[in-house]
């Protein structure tokens, strides 16, 4: 289980996370909040991309400060702009590159690449340049590349921000069907339907932690308050 204990982090003098303590045990966890509320930094602490200035982030016995490599193998990460996540020139090669560190052997690697390309409807594009795929296909490729390594947890940082409605639904369905635990950071409140737990971030703190409907209501109240302040 992912656990955050007293996590605080700053960029220069700007505090972006303030004493966040959480146990992330549920199968589907959503995180919402305004721009600048600390969502992306919180997401990045979960697989060690950001090591907090204070506090600890652990997965079981592993700590991101000392065992980032081990944690990254168990906690997959999907970015909002899939184009930047595509590393290799072609679709199949991009799925394959993430498997190299697992040292599965040539045959097993090829089998897994084929299986994930078929599962995510990318088999017909296997030799195509990844950067020429549509936005939705790029995000599916990003998901396939991460999921091929079979992480225990998938952290998604606004994976539908750059997508149209159809592709958003496609990504939603894909996330919905995963066996893995998913921690979804999003602005798209519709994606939270059926989630077990939703956190609302505000000014680097967890402002609300509970069921999706109540969390969304709390978030909307926060935004209404911010609107009134801006108008005053």
């Amino acid at each position: 289980m992912l656990r955050l204990q007293g996590v605080s982090h700053s960029y220069d003098d700007r505090a972006v996370l303030r004493d966040v303590t959480l146990d992330l045990a549920e199968h589907r966890i959503g995180v919402i909040g305004a721009n600048g509320s600390g969502k992306s930094t919180l997401a990045r602490t979960l697989n060690g991309l950001v090591v907090p200035d204070e506090g600890r982030v652990t997965l079981g016995e592993w700590d991101t400060r000392r065992h980032a490599k081990h944690i990254r193998r168990r906690v997959g990460f999907v970015f909002s702009d899939a184009a930047n996540q595509i590393i290799m020139p072609t679709v199949a090669e991009d799925v394959e590159i993430g498997l190299r560190s697992l040292r599965l052997g040539r045959e097993e690697t090829a089998r897994r690449v084929d299986a994930f390309l078929v599962r995510y409807g990318l088999d017909g594009h296997r030799d195509h340049p990844g950067h020429l795929l549509s936005g939705g296909q790029k995000q599916l490729l990003a998901l396939a590349s991460v999921l091929a390594t079979e992480p225990e947890v998938l952290v998604c940082d606004e994976p539908t921000t750059l997508l149209d409605l159809r592709n958003t639904r496609m990504v939603h369905r894909t996330l919905d069907g995963l066996d893995q635990q998913v921690v979804l950071f999003t602005h798209d409140l519709d994606l939270l339907d059926g989630f077990d737990r939703v956190l609302v971030m505000d000014e680097g703190r967890v402002a609300f932690d509970g069921a999706p409907a109540e969390a969304v209501a709390h978030y909307l109240r926060l935004m209404d308050g911010a609107d009134r302040e801006a108008g005053a």
Binding site: R72, G76, F77, I87, M88, G98, R100, D127, H131
Partner: protein, 204 residues
Amino acid sequence: MSAIGLYVPGTGPLYRAPAWAKLLGLLAAGVALLAAADHRIALGALAASLLAYPVVGLAPARAWGVLRVLWPFLLAIALFQVLFGEWETAVRLCAQLAALVLLANVVTLTTRVREMLDLFERVARPLRHVGVAPDRVALVLALTIRSIPMVADAWRTSQEAYRARGLSGRPHLLVVPVIVQLLRMADATGEALVARGIDDDTRA
């Protein structure tokens, strides 16, 4: 899309040839062309390299795309040689350069990056003894190839933004925004490498 291409799926004999054989052939062609040092041979090699595209099943437009990128360099070389040297040298140098770039592009278009990486890893293996990681060398190569369309995209995006604001001319003004975009892309790619466990370095 960039004219200097990435792998294009195909089934011809050149596709089935191993990467090392293609690169060795390219090296041999380069050495032979330079050793012959004759403008007629260079022109023949240029014609042969143009012919290679349809022969291996690649659209001739791909060859044209390469020449379109190369022509300012060819023109500069030709002008310099005609003004300060001999026209035969101008023809030879331009034909040699164009032929070799066209052939190199044929190799790139018919070889999966995966095969190239495997080859480079094997070739660079002895460098382990002096502290070089062969898989890092191969990864850098892959990222270099991957970055070609990224650079083209960054240029196009900046150009569109420039035109959208009603500006024209002065293309040097695009340099700074393009560099800023590329730095952002490089940072994001670095983060993705770390996130996917491909790079072991830890970011703080």
